[in-house]
Amino acid sequence: MEDMKDIVLEYVIEEYLEDEDEELTYDTPLISGGIVDSFSMVSLKRFVENKYNISIPDDKATPEAFDTVESIVELVKKYIN
């Protein structure tokens, strides 16, 4: 579980942060906090789908569900199971 969080966190840092020293935690608001715009969220969705071999329906891949690393991992877990 911690592993999954770290993998997603690492991807978010590399994919979205301009300055990689910026502080980011599991519960930093990504979309409502303006770090990831909802339009660019698509690469994050694709990343977790490919990484964990799952398919998240578009109506479940909401900005709310993708707002923190914590909530993304929760969502991914539902589809892994």
Binding site: E18, G33, G34, D37, F39
Partner: protein, 415 residues
């Protein structure tokens, strides 16, 4: 009546939410032609106020140019007011074709198709030329109309960090299995005023067999030595596959836009682009005006040269005064304030003192990136710039932001 009280209240609540979030937009009524000096009614019902306009897209000062107005009058007299038809039924005049030829020549492309606006060009082009086996890779700061166009298309989409060529290359590698790849960028980014690295992008597109799309709305007519646009500045004329641009900014400022580029792309738009197929094109009066604009620009670079000199003068004046600016060398000069309320307060103070410049904040720009965006025009004379500079300095002193760093301003006002 289907518009019940219940429905009305839902809208009222939604509008209240917009107001409470501080992002409710109010129009200011201008009672004069668009120019450096304008007369404004604001708030609604108040007496007219003479202000210097520092936030128009009237880069070349052609919006109210006498020759353009005369040409538009002649166009109105000779070709009438409207077409009452879309292009492919009976809505195409000889002058529409003539304008397409002039644009092609000016931009150095293969062919051009007019659209009612550049918003329509961007909304229609991707759906017309791409399918689900393709991918669109866009810069994260592209204009909203491009985002709409991408949403309407069936091709997959992805984004890259703003102007980050390493990230773009990674994305091109990631999508190497797609049939067609198109890299999408603005030429000049409207909120920051910076320029896309088109020379590097062309090289990457050649390496990974991708097409390059550029929206040059904030560049056509004045960026580059002869004003052809960002591709001229970057030395890649003839190498951009799709250029979209507007006639609603520097090129007369009325309305209309186009897709210009590879002839097969243009032809696909003529066959399939929905805003072209299902909407009237640009009115004859506007076509006549835009054609005159191209004649003026082809005859002399005087206006773009003056714009460049004005922009350099304005940027240096603000820098010397100690404002924090977004770096760049275009007529878009954003003064960074970071805090949303501060940007609104300063904009209001400027207006009180006769300077019209708007504050932008989230969601128009990223959180913590609030700013006043100033836009310089060839229609500005030195006295306009000097007066504006004086007022900016006066207001800057009031808020004690002159000579302060980004960090110091954030410490004083928060994000």
């Amino acid at each position: 009546m289907a518009f019940s009280e219940k429905i009305r209240n839902i809208y009222k609540e939604e509008l209240k939410g917009i107001e409470e979030a501080g992002i409710f937009k109010k129009e200011r009524y201008i009672h004069s032609p668009q120019a450096a000096d304008i007369e404004v009614e604001f708030p609604k019902g108040s007496s007219l106020k003479k202000v210097i306009n520092m936030c128009a897209n009237n880069y070349l000062g052609l919006s109210s140019h006498p020759e353009v107005i005369k040409a538009a009058h002649e166009g109105l007299d000779s070709r009438g007011y409207g077409m009452s038809s879309v292009r492919f039924i009976c809505g195409t005049q000889d002058i529409h074709n003539e304008l397409e030829r002039k644009v092609t020549e000016f931009l150095g492309t293969e062919d051009t198709i007019l659209f009612p606006s550049c918003m329509d060009a961007n909304a229609g082009v991707f759906e017309a030329v791409l399918g689900k086996e393709d991918v669109m890779i866009s810069d994260r700061l592209v204009h909203a109309s491009i985002i709409d166009g991408i949403r309407l298309a069936s091709a997959e989409h992805d984004t890259f960090k703003h102007s980050n060529m390493k990230h773009l290359e990674k994305k091109l590698q990631l999508h190497s299995d797609k049939c067609r790849r198109v890299v999408i960028t603005d030429g000049v980014f409207s909120m920051d005023g910076d320029t896309a690295k088109l020379d590097e992008m062309v090289a990457l597109c050649e390496k990974y067999d991708a097409m390059l799309f550029v929206d040059d709305s904030h560049a056509s007519g004045f960026i580059g030595k002869t004003g052809r646009g960002t591709h001229e500045k970057c030395g890649v004329v003839g190498k951009i596959d799709i250029i979209t641009t507007t006639f609603g900014k520097a090129l007369g400022g009325a309305s209309g836009g186009c897709v210009s580029g590879r002839k097969e792309i243009v032809e696909m738009c003529r066959q399939k682009a929905r805003p072209y197929l299902f909407s009237n094109t640009i009115a004859p009066v506007v076509v006549a005006g835009v054609m005159k604009v191209f004649d003026i620009l082809s005859a002399s670079t005087e206006r773009r040269d003056k714009l460049e000199a004005n922009s350099t003068y304005w940027r240096k004046g603000l820098e010397d005064a100690g404002f924090v600016l977004q770096p760049g060398d275009t007529p878009i000069v954003p003064i960074m304030l970071f805090n949303a309320k501060l940007s609104q307060d300063i904009s209001n103070d400027l207006y009180e003192k006769g300077i019209y410049a708007i504050g932008f904040f989230f969601p128009v720009v990223a959180k913590g990136q609030a700013r006043i965006r100033t836009q310089i025009s060839a229609g500005h004379e030195k006295h306009h710039l000097d007066k504006s500079l004086g007022v900016f300095i006066e207001v800057g002193k009031k808020y004690d932001i002159l000579g302060k760093t980004k960090q110091e301003i954030i410490e004083m006002y928060g994000l």
